[in-house]
Structures are given as structure tokens and as C-alpha cells.
Symmetry: C2
Subunit: 211 residues, 2 copies
Amino acid sequence: MIPEKTIERLSKYRRYLLEKLEKQEEYLYSHELAAALHLTPEQVRRDIMLIGYTGTQRKGYSIKELIDVISKILDGDKKINAVIIGMGHLGKAISNYFSIKRSNIEIVAAFDIDSNKVDRIISGIKSYHVDNLDLIINETDAKIAILTLSPAGAQDITDQLVYAGIKGILNFTSITLRVPEDVYIENYDMITSLEKVAYFVKESIDNEGTL
Amino acid sequence: MIPEKTIERLSKYRRYLLEKLEKQEEYLYSHELAAALHLTPEQVRRDIMLIGYTGTQRKGYSIKELIDVISKILDGDKKINAVIIGMGHLGKAISNYFSIKRSNIEIVAAFDIDSNKVDRIISGIKSYHVDNLDLIINETDAKIAILTLSPAGAQDITDQLVYAGIKGILNFTSITLRVPEDVYIENYDMITSLEKVAYFVKESIDNEGTL
DNA sequence: AAATAATTGTTATTACAATAACATTGTTTT
DNA sequence: AAAACAATGTTATTGTAATAACAATTATTT
């Protein structure tokens, strides 16, 4: 079993490696990757060890091979479909982010309650009324939902999503969702992130000059 | 020194407590807070211990007092100003999130390079051309920047921000930024988050039925 | 061909975070 | 008034992640 933090880094490694591949580069060293992502070379080597890939000493890691190994871990062999719930600014922002296909994840549909935002294509994604949630999720066999709606209706929608067969949720509403334990939730809370930054800024300002 | 993870939870505690306060409730138990946020009561008590607040046995914690103690930790005594760089969908989404003032953080300005998006008020925030970065940041004494621009210009902007006196960055561009070590960076990478969800969903589907 | 240098792979250590255990204390009940 | 209970505060333990150390190996240099 690969640790969660390693999975996160693998995602970042792959993106960096893909850039390098575009530049026709063939090999890279652990310390290069580490420097680029502000990590230690040991961490990079350890992660790569964990996924069972081995480089060649003195030469480093084959960029192409490493991408393949990471992709096998992250993507598996089959594609996975995702839907977005809520086509406000945040929903649109995320749609744009993923309009360039990376990896094996595809956003296949979006949902909203606003009649002005449904039954048309927004940021390249077909948008439906939430009433069609169950139908479309089943048709597309989507397994992931990205929640970018207002907190008010979030738990209700989540229940529907779980019923429709969703197995993973990326939650941008700042509320804590209740789901069965076989559903994986990744919470992202902007308010908390900003308050955290504010705290550490305040701390560093207060401690200025002191050692 | 309060651990990073505790700071994150304090932010969430406060929001939950504020809700309770609105409902005129006066006291709550560690296990209530824990249940609401999917934590253990021990963790909650430990966090509260770390910030030096004590409840009363058998009665629990005073909601009002606890909010005050948390606020003192998170906010300190002075307000802190923030700016947003990039008024695309993500920038607007964040502006809306923070249009309701919570805590002591205020978003005082936004910047963009698009002439259609500058010199007017967007989502309640005055928007300027990036050429005015240094000027406005100094005028407003902003210490935090929220980066919601495209990756291309991010490092260049970051250098300008640091020069202008920004001490904390909430980074939504998926690139790794170089900054002096007295600048605190919180990275949020949507692509990584989604790939992580996809990985754990895939794992759980693959392991269905096995124990 | 031998020595050196540079890099990987792995193990050991340290640090950090979460969980569990338990002692303490105040309230309620009998 | 005593006993039982239910909550807190704190210490101890466990688990997870990051760092460091080092052995093994391969290329390069002399």
C-alpha cells in the first residue's frame, strides 16, 4: 500500500516529468526532481523505491519509464469519469483546468439547479439539471464527483451521489459530509487555507528579529 | 508553538462554534465537536488544551469563550489584508467566498492583466492592473496574496509580490514557487487532489469484496 | 587497471501527529 | 453525605511520514 503523501507527490512528479519529456530529455537525477519540487533527494528516491521502479546508478531515472510506472499506479488501466456539481465560478474554473486532458480522468458532465446554466455546453462540458443526476451518472458510469456548490444543499446532493454509485468526492464546500465508509472524500477548505496562511504570517511578523 | 494541523482544525472549530452561537447555544462537549467534524473527542480536547483554554467538567466548553480564545490565536489583534492576483473564474469564486467577512482577514484588492477586468469592482473587490501591484500593496499594507492566475507568469508575479512586502501566499497555480524563507506558502493543487481521489477510488474498486 | 566520484537503493533514526489510557474533578443521584 | 457518573486535562503509546546515514554499484579519471 502506497502512502497518501507519496500518491500526492507522484502526481506532481508526473507533471514535472511530462514537461521534461516534451523537451526531449531522457534522464534525470533524484536531486533534480527534488530541487524542482522543493523536496529532498532522499524523499524522491524513497517514493520511487516504493513504487518499485529502479533507475540506473550514475545515470539517474529514465523519464519515459518513470512516467509509465507512475501512470500505471495513478491511472491503472481503465479510464475514470468524473462529474462537477455546481457551475458557478468555481465549477467553471475547475472545468477549464481539466479541459486539457491529463491522466485518465475525464469530466463527462456538469450539473446545476440554475436553468440558465443547464442543457448547454459550459467550458466544454455538457451541463444538466440536477434532477438528471442519477440518470447521467449511471449512463456515464462516473465514479468521482467534484462538489462546487453552495453548502446549503451539499449533504442532500451527496446522498444522491452516493446512491447513484459515486465512490470518490472532491469537496469544495466547507462543510463536513457524511458518507458511507467505502466512499473516499478529499476535502478542500479555502477558508481554512487562508486562515492558516494568515496565522503563520502573523507569527512570522510577530517574531521578526527574534531567534 | 501550535502544530500546523491544530491550526487547521481551529479554523474549522471556530466556524462550527459560530453556527452554534447563532443558535443561542452556550456550551458544548468535546464529543459533539468531534462528531460534527469527524474527529475523536481526544483530539478535540488535546487541541483545546494546546491553546490553553479550559472548559468545565460535566458542563463542557463555553462556546463564546472558546471562539474568543481561538480568534485570539488565529487573528491576533490586528487585521490582516490580502490581495487576489488573477480575476478569472477562480479569482471570482474566492472573492465571493470571502465577501462575507469572517475573521480578521480582508481582501482589499484584486489584480489582472486583462484590461476588461481592471479599474472596476468585481465581486465587491476593487480590481487593478498588475502594473499597480507594488503601489497598491504598499498603500493597503497587504501581507497575503492569493494566486489564481495562469502558471506562465506566476513566478514573475511572485517575485514582485515578495518585493512589495507580501509575507504569505496561497498558491493555486500548480507550479512550485521560489520564495525567500520568511515567506510562508500554502500550495493547493487541484490536479493532484483529483488524481489522488481517482487513485483511492480505483483502489477501493479493485479491492471490492476482499478483506 | 586502480582509485575516485557520483548516484542509486535501503535501512535506521528522528520528528510529528493521532490515538488511547487514565487520573482528576465536579455534578447528580440516592 | 456518599457513591456513581460523566466530563475534562494530561500523559503514554502507537502510527505515519520525513530525514539521515550508509552500503552498493557504476562510470570516469588518472
